[in-house]
């Protein structure tokens, strides 16, 4: 059983005990522990259940590659599922719960799947659950769904905050091991702006751990010394930034790197954001990301107590934790001997080292023998005994089929199948890999590197990440590769005489299955992907059934699709696949490496954009007044506009009616500030607007206004509004609220990219002005009380504008009407909008003046038969459909959209045309309803002959009114159409003139 050793542990501080809970049980650990090391120290070998068979699982690794030891961390607003115990730093009060079991970790009903495993091979669900059909939805799928998932679901709104940071560096070094440190120091000394990031809380990586076992030295000093020395050097360089607990999540095009900095995960009480997502632009990236050890594939290699040899070593050396008292070491390379030595030095027993290589190991093997450890070459593990805990192993010949030679009792197994460089970041942006036959792994093919915006190489692998596996080679490679990256940035490298002395290792030997001739029984128990329960037999089945592409096999078996994304399983899996297909591994190739390297929080991705800062919320100068006066808001793009202003006890509909009645009978106010306002000035301004609008603008007289339509080059109506001519050379174009930015951009696009020789300047002055529509029979009276200027119909007739002083504020007054009433749109500088608004309310009090919202605006324009962009138009409607021929200039031989409107379908007389619709019973037509025609089309769909584009209850007429587009509509006045609802009812409506109110337009013209 695992336990805490009385001495040792280079990363823990035994003077700082910490307490935490696991599944509610109080446990103890030390500062510097990971949750995994603390659990092992507490004898908690079993840490989770596998995904498919719910098999008992213990920790197998000691870092980011851990597939088994996943826990739910924290509680309430701080709960997070699927946290790796191996990368979770212990803090006082930490609370963790194991996952994917019911009722308990020790006794899990789901483990029945394990009994039936033989009936659940890879892809079994593609072959079953099909009959009877209803059973899939009713029975099978619910079962499949309920058994799905790993971690528990967070319940509360996230209590933490997150942020981003845009970082710019010449060179970014990923990985704080020996290679990364060497690279960063070289770059720092070359005077470059450098960022060095390390995903763990410690510098130095594996080298110090290995040295603790084999006594390797650098420059005749302990490896730890070199680490300290370089870290100290870097601290003195202002041009170098170093970050612990920061992982490079992904490398993207043009030197873009995502840095995931975990600020308070290890200290939840600390102030500030929890995570910071760095968006980094790097001239060069050095990936010193090290390597990951591979498991060996033998029967029972997933039983708690079976661990990677390197992890076993880490727990002993770094945390003073022993995974077991009797540790069998099984390997195909020399490195695992370091583990045996470390175990022995810790005073624990190594009953045997099982070396699959016939010739065995080199110097390290000798060192192990010298310590009295029994070493057997050409041997293998046939089977591991035990259920929730290793109890022993059967030894056999690697060459054979698993005939047992000897049984050995043990409580832990340390395995090593060789090492694979971490090539993820290299591969994210297109870096290619090459197969290294000698070391049986893929490493970066530096001749096929990721290319940046200038086509230059921008990622350079260094050290173990580049396939250099022994200390001396690692140091040499790091210097060499860092030099290349620095040179690419025009820097020069001062040679660093770093000499390492470490025991020589003899070559490893690929071992993909143990024993070599293992039969089906054993292969069905030899795990490749621990979390997803993918076994050697599953990959072989996929190959047998023709899922030959590595992508097919991955998807068919789910190999490598778990939360560790195959960090442990991919190479072993595709070796088995290649063997099954009888082709060399490089021909099989790898699956695609995708970001992130390990999962990153959604919160960090969103950053500060939540709550008030989620999205810009645009406010008019009178926004606060609307808020204080109980406006019911309608989001219009990023603006908020009052929909209506309900009073106590009033429904929205009642409020809208009140606002309309008041406005039609006396006077109302509308905050129209959101309407777009664009200045167009220059000798060619008229000519330009003639191209932009369908009607003629160049003939407009200064002081006058004209309503205009804009179409896209594809012929469709995109915007409308009133244009006022300010002077000979200057026009002010009003656009819809949604159009302010887009229409201004539209204008600039044509000016800059098509008519660049035309003398026209534009300026978007939308936000310079607060605009208030004063509407109703009493509008003039109200305004006149605030102004000495003459506002009479003579001096300011309909469709004219003039500059006046209102309530002491210089204002532009436009006599335009979107309601059919006498109406003045008053524009004043935004800073004085509120003042004018209040003055108008005051001046109009005697007339019962009140503000009205967008809904009243919509109803009143509908009563007048005015179209609304976005209601009558939807991106498929042309002006002709709306009977707006009068606004299509015949004199102009060109305007944007004119050619498009000549295409056969747009000139088709059978296009639906705008009409008014009046229900026979006075009710309101359902919004969006279609008018049905006779019969069905060839796809069996009911034929239609029209649709409702806007529909309202008109308080003025006290009946439902609507507008719609109807086949030959204008020629069918009086005809009755049927509009089926979605509830089975049918509304009948008569085709009428769309102008329902004041047909002769007398009211707006007074």
């Amino acid at each position: 059983m695992s336990t805490r050793l009385s001495t040792g542990g280079r990363l823990i501080d035994r003077t700082k005990p910490m307490s935490y809970t696991f599944n509610g049980k109080r446990m103890k650990g030390f500062a510097g522990d990971t949750l995994a090391s603390a659990l092992l120290a507490g004898g908690q070998m079993m840490m989770g259940r596998s995904f498919k068979y719910h098999r008992p699982r213990g920790v197998v690794a000691s870092g980011a590659e851990e597939p088994n030891a996943l826990v739910g961390l924290g509680q309430g607003a701080a709960f997070e599922p699927n946290q790796r115990a191996t990368t979770t730093e212990l803090f006082d009060g930490l609370s963790a719960t194991s996952q994917n079991h019911w009722p308990s970790l020790e006794f899990d009903v789901g483990a029945i799947n394990n009994r039936l495993a033989r009936f659940f091979p890879a892809g079994f669900y593609y072959k079953t659950f099909m009959f009877p059909r209803v059973a899939w939805k009713k029975l099978y799928e619910p079962i499949v769904r309920q058994s799905a998932g790993l971690g528990a679901v967070p319940k509360e709104r996230d209590g933490d905050t997150y942020e981003h940071f845009y970082g710019f560096f010449d060179l970014v070094v990923v990985g704080g091991g020996i290679s990364g440190l060497i690279a960063a120091r070289a770059a720092g000394r070359a005077g470059l702006r450098v960022l060095l990031m390390e995903q763990t809380a410690h510098w130095g990586g594996r080298a110090p751990v290995d040295a603790a076992a084999d006594g390797a030295t650098v420059n005749d000093a302990p490896v730890d010394k070199l680490v300290e020395e370089i870290v100290a050097d870097l601290a003195t360089m202002p041009n170098v930034t170093t970050r612990l607990r920061m992982m490079a999540a992904g490398v993207y095009d043009h030197g873009y790197v995502l840095g995931y900095e975990r600020l308070t995960d290890h200290a939840p009480e600390a102030p500030g954001p929890r995570h910071r997502l760095w968006r980094i632009r790097a001239g060069q990236i050095v990936t010193a990301t090290g390597a990951i050890e591979r498991p060996l594939s033998f029967a029972g290699n997933d039983i708690p107590g079976v661990m990677l040899a390197s992890a076993t070593r880490d727990y002993i050396v770094n945390y003073g934790v022993s995974p077991g008292d009797r540790v069998v070491v099984v390997t195909n390379n020399d490195d695992a001997y370091r583990t045996a030595i470390a175990v022995k030095k810790a005073g624990l027993d190594v009953p045997i080292i099982v070396d699959a290589r016939a010739a065995g190991g080199g110097a390290l093997a000798q060192a192990a023998r010298d310590l009295g450890i029994r070493v057997e070459n050409g041997r293998a593990i046939a089977k591991v005994h035990g259920k929730k805990q290793v109890e022993g192993v059967s030894i056999c010949a690697q060459a054979g089929e698993g005939g047992v030679l000897e049984e050995i009792a043990c409580d832990a197994v340390a395995m090593s199948g060789g090492w694979s460089p971490v090539v993820h970041l290299w591969s994210h942006c297109g870096g290619k890999l090459t197969w290294d036959e000698a070391q049986a792994h893929f490493r970066p093919d530096v001749h096929n590197s990721p290319k940046g915006d200038a086509g230059e190489t921008f990622v350079t692998p260094a050290g173990a990440a580049n396939g250099a596996m022994q200390l001396g080679d690692v140091i040499a490679d790091a210097g060499e590769m860092a030099g290349r990256a620095i040179a690419a940035l025009g820097g020069t490298v001062r040679a660093e005489p770093v000499t390492a002395s470490a025991p020589d290792e003899v070559p490893m030997q690929p071992v993909w299955l143990m024993p070599q001739g293992a039969g089906p029984k054993l292969r069905m128990k030899a795990w490749l992907d621990y979390q997803n329960d993918v076994k050697v037999s599953d990959v072989q089945l996929a190959a047998r059934e023709g899922y030959e592409s590595v992508e097919h096999t991955k998807r068919y078996t789910t190999l490598g699709m778990a939360t560790d994304q195959g960090k442990l399983s991919n190479i072993n899996g595709l070796a088995i696949l290649s063997d099954a297909l009888g082709q060399p591994i490089p021909q099989t190739g790898t699956t695609t490496f995708r970001p992130p390297y390990t999962p990153i929080s959604m919160g960090a991705i969103a950053g500060t954009a939540r709550g008030a800062a989620f999205q810009p919320l645009r406010r008019t100068p009178m926004h606060s007044w609307h808020e204080e006066n109980n406006a019911h808001w309608e989001p219009v793009g990023q603006w908020r506009r009052p929909y209506c202003y309900p009073r106590t006890g009033e429904s929205h509909a009642e409020a809208v009616s009140r606002e309309i009645n008041q406005t039609r009978s006396s006077v109302g106010l509308l905050d129209a500030s959101t309407l777009g306002k664009i200045i167009v000035k220059g000798p060619d301004a008229g000519r330009f607007l003639d191209m932009l609008y369908t009607n003629m603008m160049s003939t407009l007289k200064p002081g006058k206004c004209r309503y205009g339509l804009m179409c896209s080059e594809n012929g469709f109506l995109i915007d409308d509004g009133v244009v006022a001519r300010l002077d000979e050379e200057t026009f002010l174009c009003h656009t819809t609220t949604g159009g302010a930015e887009s229409i201004h951009a539209h204008m600039e696009e044509w000016l800059q990219t098509e008519w660049w020789d035309w003398k026209v300047y534009t300026a978007n002055v939308t936000e310079q002005w607060a605009q208030i529509a004063v509407v109703g029979p009493k509008a003039r009276a109200v305004l006149q009380t605030l102004s000495d200027d003459d506002l009479s119909a003579e001096t300011l007739p309909f469709m004219a504008w003039k500059e006046v002083t209102l309530a002491g504020i210089k204002a532009r007054v436009f006599r335009i009407s979107f309601s059919g009433e006498l109406s003045f749109e008053v524009a004043v500088p935004a800073g004085q909008g509120m003042a004018l608004w209040l003055a108008l309310l005051d001046a109009g009090a005697e007339h019962g003046i009140m503000p009205y919202g967008t809904e009243a605006l919509h109803v009143m324009r509908a009563e007048k038969g005015f179209i609304m962009i976005g209601d009558e138009t939807d991106g498929t409607v042309i002006p002709q459909d709306l009977n707006l021929h009068w606004a299509l200039s015949k004199k102009k031989d060109d305007y944007l959209g004119k050619r498009a409107q000549q295409r056969s379908h747009m000139a088709d007389p059978n296009r639906w045309k705008l009409v008014g619709l009046e229900t026979l019973d006075g009710s309101v037509l359902p919004d969006g309803a279609y008018a049905v025609a006779e019969g069905v089309n060839e796809n069996g769909q009911k034929r239609t002959q029209g649709r409702v584009t806007s529909t309202y209850h008109s308080p003025t007429l006290n009946r439902g009114i609507a507008m719609g587009l109807v086949l030959h509509g204008p020629d069918r006045m009086g005809e009755v159409l049927e509009f089926p609802g979605t509830d089975g009812t049918v509304s009948k409506a008569r085709i009428v003139d769309p102008v329902f109110y004041d047909k002769d337009g007398e009211k707006q013209n007074v």
Binding site: T161, E163, H164, F165, Y166, G167, F168, R193, P238, T241, A270, P271, G272, P273, R276, R279, R281, T608, A609, A612, A613, Q615, P616, L617, R618, R619, T620, P621, Q638, W639, I679, K681, G682, P683, K759, Y761, T762, A763, V765, T766, E767, Q768, W769, A807, G808, I809, P829, A830, G831, Q832, M834, A835, A839
Partner: protein, 193 residues
């Protein structure tokens, strides 16, 4: 004549940097052929400022002129002088094709002050704000979180940030979160300890 109001009427907030809405500020958009001598002299006469070169901002007393685009500059003068200055520019440019508009009410201006000011802005804008890349005299138009914005430095540790008036509250809220206590990045500050 009522008192004009700036977007946030001078709201302030303290975090790892000080945030303050500056209040009323006169701003005039001037578009034209910036190589035309009339423009340079009109600006000099009206503000005393030199015509700014590419991506630069020039200052003279309470006035500033910043480059905005190849055919546009922004003139900053005290709010109550904007109308007159605009008129002055207008009349000086009658002979050339140019556009002069008083847009003093269309925008909001913030001051961001303190040793961490660079980092606070660096959390929201995709711009290299390290001292050796960005300093006084430069204007940068870019994206601040989700809205367009422009900024320049008025000292080694303070910025002026300009955005549209309607999003002033959003920009303030966003800056406030970016400046929350305990969120120092320690990147641009490490050099000066």
């Amino acid at each position: 004549m009522s008192e004009p109001q700036s977007a946030l009427t001078g709201t302030t907030c303290d975090g790892i940097a000080k945030i303050r809405e500056v209040g009323l500020q006169g701003m005039i958009t001037l578009r034209g052929d910036l190589s035309a001598t009339e423009i340079a002299s009109a600006i000099a006469d009206a503000t005393g400022c030199a015509l700014p070169a590419l991506r630069e901002i020039t200052h003279e007393g309470r006035n500033s002129v910043s480059w905005m685009s190849p055919d546009e500059v922004m003139v900053f003068v005290p709010y109550d002088e904007a109308e007159a200055t605009a008129a002055k520019l207008e009349s000086a440019l009658t002979q050339v094709h140019a556009l002069v508009v008083n847009v003093s009410d269309a925008r909001a201006m913030f001051e961001l002050e303190g040793p961490n000011a660079r980092e606070v802005l660096g959390k929201l804008c995709p711009v290299d704000l390290s001292p050796d890349s960005f300093g006084q005299g430069i204007i940068r138009r870019t994206r601040l979180a989700q809205v367009p914005a422009a900024f320049w430095m008025t000292s080694d540790a303070s910025f002026r940030v300009v955005c549209f008036r309607s999003v002033a509250q959003y920009v303030f809220d966003t800056l406030k979160i970016a400046a929350q206590p305990g969120s120092e990045v320690g990147l641009y500050t490490q050099a000066n300890g």
